[in-house]
């Protein structure tokens, strides 16, 4: 079989895996929806969760697609399609592919024509992020069980613990937003772009929340996060022209 990064057989392999992963998502969705009904969670709440999650996902998913386009120049379309539909995040896959391409003395964007280099890159990308894939089936029950027990033992602490975890994660990303602010002292204002984008997104979120309460527009609350995300991203366009 003559090698090509876009050989049809690669699309068949990737298509099969993605179909199985889609089936897994549908399986858990169906299972959770059934359990929601048993627990007395209203059909309206489930419907809103579904629609809001779907709307929220569009913008980040399109940004993942940008990653597929970037990686497709070296690796063809099939492998980035697999790696970014399944398992990988944009940041990891780019780094892993880059590490492997550098080891192969290839530059980013140069299409691989040697099958040996192609499988080498594929092995690096696959093994490099396999920790979660291998360990999750075996450790999740223990970790999750501990969380549930803690929630039952001391309800208030369980709730605070959970909020603390969310806040810890959010604070790390807020810190990241400010990582280039110091450039301002060197006369470079581009580091302010993420800070301003975050501020726009925060204001949109707050306005949505307050308006939803004041004007009884419940739907606005349901879509507040996608709105703040999209308007925040849109604000990056003029802000970059202005500050960068």
């Amino acid at each position: 079989m003559e090698f090509s990064v876009n050989h049809p057989i690669l699309f068949v392999i990737v298509g099969i895996i993605i179909a199985v992963v889609l089936a897994q998502s549908f399986y858990f969705l169906r299972k959770a929806c059934r359990r929601a009904a048993e627990l007395g969670i209203s059909a309206e709440t489930v419907k809103k969760t579904v629609s809001s999650a779907a709307v929220f996902t569009i913008a980040p998913a399109v940004s993942v697609l940008v990653g597929v386009v970037v990686l497709s120049k070296s690796l063809g379309i099939a492998v980035p399609w697999l790696r970014l539909s399944v398992i990988g995040s944009i940041t990891y896959e780019n780094v892993a592919a880059q590490n492997a391409l550098t080891a192969a003395k290839l530059s980013a964007g140069e299409t691989i024509i040697d099958p040996s280099i192609f499988v080498t890159v594929l092995w690096v990308m696959t093994i490099g992020i396999a920790a979660g894939l291998i360990l999750v089936p075996f450790v999740t029950k223990k970790i999750q069980g501990g969380m549930m027990k803690m929630g039952l033992k001391d309800k208030k602490w369980g709730e605070i613990f959970n909020n603390a975890m969310f806040l810890g994660m959010i604070s790390a990303f807020l810190g990241y937003v400010f990582c280039d602010v110091g450039l301002v002292f060197k006369g470079n204002t581009s580091g302010l772009v993420p800070v301003c984008v975050m501020a726009v997104s925060a204001v949109v979120m707050a306005v949505c929340g307050l308006s939803a309460k004041k004007f009884k527009m419940r739907w606005l609350e349901d879509y507040a996060l996608p709105f703040s995300l999209i308007l925040g991203m849109a604000s990056a366009l003029p802000l970059t022209v202005w500050l960068a």
Partner: protein, 223 residues
Amino acid sequence: MKNAKNLSYMDSVHRDGRIWGIIVGTMILLVPAVVMLLFKTTPDLGMLARGLIATVPMYWAVGVIEIFTYVPMLGAGGTYLSFVTGNISNLKLPCAIDAMERAKVKATSEEGEVISTIAIAVSSIVTTLIILLGVVCIVPLTPLLESPVLKPAFDMILPALFGGLAVVFISKNAKLSIAPILLMLTLFIVVPALNAGTVGIMVPVGVIFTVTVARVMYKKGWL
């Protein structure tokens, strides 16, 4: 509540999650081997070693820490799906947090587990379908996705995402949020090595620090 096979819902989620995880995990891990057989080729061992040395130590360490950090927040069903479909911190977890917040359910309750699973499953399905659509239309879409005009918007997805989420969580936990935000702002501004590439490593640091602060404040009756 036990079902016909005497398994609680949570037990059945773990059983099914393990089965799906092992099947999908094996399939993904076998891809390079299958490609090797199909094209009758082998990897260049020197290149493979160099690529792995540059990738594995950091990403396996981060991967293990991520499991302990994200599993309690994602819930069981959400974990089994998210660790297969990826993009956890920039997509699946914010989606689950927002869904639980709006449904007014706690992550430690079974209701929270169910809502988180629904949100993550829908998010995974939509992501897969959008990428599929993008792959089918990659030729006409490439100029648009690579347009320098739109690039700043895609580059700013994390600030836009966490600005909105921060409003919800900081307004609800104002006292608890002061210490972690001050710590992270100081670290990211002062330490040049902390940037977009290393933010993933700082998530567990932020989580451990905030949980510790929360425990002290809770014991002292400040929360």
